[in-house]
């Protein structure tokens, strides 16, 4: 019996670990909690018609908003503030694709990076950086990219 309890406890712990190692985009709502822990942030949830917004403010003065579908999946992330978010955390399984994209262009200014299944947009200026990342095919119907802000 004791062994069983221990096994259950270990299994539960393993599930928690795996939940926290998921990062947000494309993940389920638990991954938002992982981001919250990583950012050491307060979280505020706003329910919209087609989705919910989980807003967190980091100590760095950066606000991160994660957009969660009715099915509990994170389809978009927006940020605004002094620093960029930790993309490995917020992009999750999309991060490897993002980090290799390295746009080299003649434009000095805001960027849009279009990748298969992922769009990352970034703009602003020093101390006021803004942007969003979203998975177009996961957007609830009728929701526009402009709403991820």
């Amino acid at each position: 019996m004791k062994y069983l309890q221990a096994a259950v406890a270990i299994a539960a712990f393993a599930i928690l670990l795996s939940a926290s190692s998921f990062a947000a985009l494309g993940g389920d709502v638990n991954s938002v909690l992982a981001d919250q822990a990583q950012m050491k942030a307060q979280r505020r949830v706003t329910q919209m018609t087609a989705y919910s917004i989980h807003e967190m403010q980091s100590q760095a003065g950066t606000t991160v908003r994660e957009f969660v579908s009715p099915e509990g999946k994170v389809f978009g992330v927006a940020w605004q503030g002094q620093s960029l978010p930790n993309f490995q955390q917020v992009l999750g399984s999309y991060y490897d694709q993002f980090i290799k994209s390295a746009p080299r262009q003649r434009k000095h200014g805001p960027v849009t990076i279009q990748m298969p299944g992922l769009v990352v947009q970034s703009g602003g200026h020093m101390r006021a950086l803004t942007g969003r990342a979203y998975v177009p095919e996961m957007m609830p119907s009728g929701v526009k990219a402009d709403e991820i802000r």
Binding site: G109, G123, H125
Partner: protein, 427 residues
């Protein structure tokens, strides 16, 4: 932040830059802008501003450069650096290590060296140590200013993971990459420091670090130790800057010269005249734009370091309520992110002062501007265009094209001027 270069050009650029930088106080290579008798005046507070093809003619467009002299603190051992990009969208002097010939003293604390990760909106970053320099620009000087040295990717210590994970390209030079498009960056924007109280009060990832032989760890950085906007540390004329560039033809121009004037209302050559003051919010230095009847509140800015009128996106502009067909350029790294309408599209927008800090509504100015095909413009030898445009999702970033034919004032936070305390924008 980047220039698209072919490999032989990179080699050439690096060689030329190597030749152009010398030590021991000699003034090297005067700025190469010739052009059309610049606008703006002369005086001990006026530096020349040029819009040319960049250091070694590497092919920059709509970037403005000046010349800066850095000195070992308290000495007359100096190095003059040309093609320093003038950026009102950032704060602080950042010098490529390959250009710097002076052994500027690095900032240390308890045997550890201060390093910084500097992030930009285009998802690039710079990495390198904080050093101290005396800075001279025109007749102005500032003593013991914290600056950043931009290390190559190969230098040790390398950028920590939490720095490189927040961006997807290290912007520096390592023999194969030379994409700063300048020998150094001079950030003379709205703020006094590049981070401010946030970095002084708490440890913030991907900002300041304390490094020793065992590695780097995140660290707080006091306000005075942070990389400073050199202008507010000048002995005088330290409340802001004026960028003045002459009007250029719609087809573009090669090599334009104008002026970078220090101080607002501190001398006979830097008064506000009829300029309209637009307050910007104290946190982000942004203001409001009204475009085709729609308001974009406190998300917009004027930035000499952006090389276009960057606003909204093709889909948003083309569809209701705007109905302005604004095609993106054909896909290529040189044209990525720019608009390519043919014929040129005339537009207007109202810039409205921020009310975020309790400023009354009222201050606003409506401007007209054109967006031409970037593809057509880049097929010329022009380096200065007043009609280069591109996307900036959800806001307006008024880059260098906005500055042609104008005097644009940037007042620094907390500094008093005849029109009140900064930050504000005026033109």
């Amino acid at each position: 932040m980047k220039t698209n270069l072919k490999f032989p050009q990179i080699i050439l650029a690096v060689v030329l830059i190597g030749l152009a930088s010398s030590c021991g106080g000699g003034s090297t290579g005067a700025v190469s802008g010739s052009g059309t008798g610049g606008s703006g005046g002369t005086g001990n507070n006026v530096a020349q501003l040029v819009v040319d093809a960049g250091p070694g003619g590497i092919g920059t467009v709509d970037l403005a450069f000046t010349t800066v002299t850095v000195c070992m603190p308290g000495t007359s051992t100096c190095q003059t650096i040309d093609h320093v990009q003038v950026d009102t969208g950032s704060e602080g002097l950042r010098i490529l290590s390959s250009v710097l010939t002076l052994p500027l003293p690095q900032q240390t604390s308890n045997g550890n060296s201060a390093f910084e990760c500097t992030q930009f909106a285009d998802l690039t970053f710079l990495w390198g140590p904080i050093a101290t320099a005396d800075i001279q620009i025109s007749g102005e000087s500032a003593k013991s200013v914290p600056v950043q040295i931009i290390n190559p990717v190969t230098a040790s210590p390398g950028a920590p993971a939490d720095c490189s994970q927040t961006a997807n390209q290290q912007l520096t030079q390592d023999g194969t990459v030379f994409d700063l498009g300048a020998n150094a960056m001079l950030g003379i924007g709205s703020f006094r420091q590049d981070c401010g109280s946030a970095c002084a009060l708490s440890v913030i990832p991907a900002t300041y670090y304390s490094c020793n032989s065992t590695g780097c760890s995140n660290a707080t950085q006091t306000l005075t130790a942070q990389v400073q906007n050199p202008v507010w540390m000048f002995a005088s004329d330290n409340n802001g800057v004026i960028l003045q560039l002459p009007a250029v033809p719609d087809a573009g121009q090669t090599n334009v010269s104008g002026s970078l004037t220090f101080g607002i209302g501190t001398q006979s050559n830097n008064g506000l005249g009829s300029a309209v003051i637009l307050p910007v919010d104290s946190n982000f230095a942004n203001f409001t734009v009204q475009f085709q009847g729609m308001n974009f509140t406190d998300v917009n800015f004027v930035d000499s370091g952006s090389n276009g009128y960057f606003f909204l996106d093709s889909a948003t502009l083309t569809n209701p309520p705007f109905n302005i067909p604004m095609p993106d350029c054909p896909k290529s790294s040189a044209l990525q992110g720019f608009y390519c309408p043919n014929p040129t599209i005339p537009l207007s927008a109202s810039l409205i002062g921020s009310t975020a800090n309790g400023t009354p509504v009222g201050a606003s100015r409506t401007i007209s501007f054109n967006v031409a095909s970037a593809q057509n413009l880049f097929n010329t030898t022009g380096t200065a265009f007043n009609d280069l445009g591109g996307e900036s999702s959800g806001n307006f970033d008024f880059g260098l094209p906005f500055f042609f034919g104008r005097s644009v004032y940037t007042a620094i936070e907390g500094q008093s001027t005849p029109a009140g305390t900064g930050p504000y924008l005026a033109f």
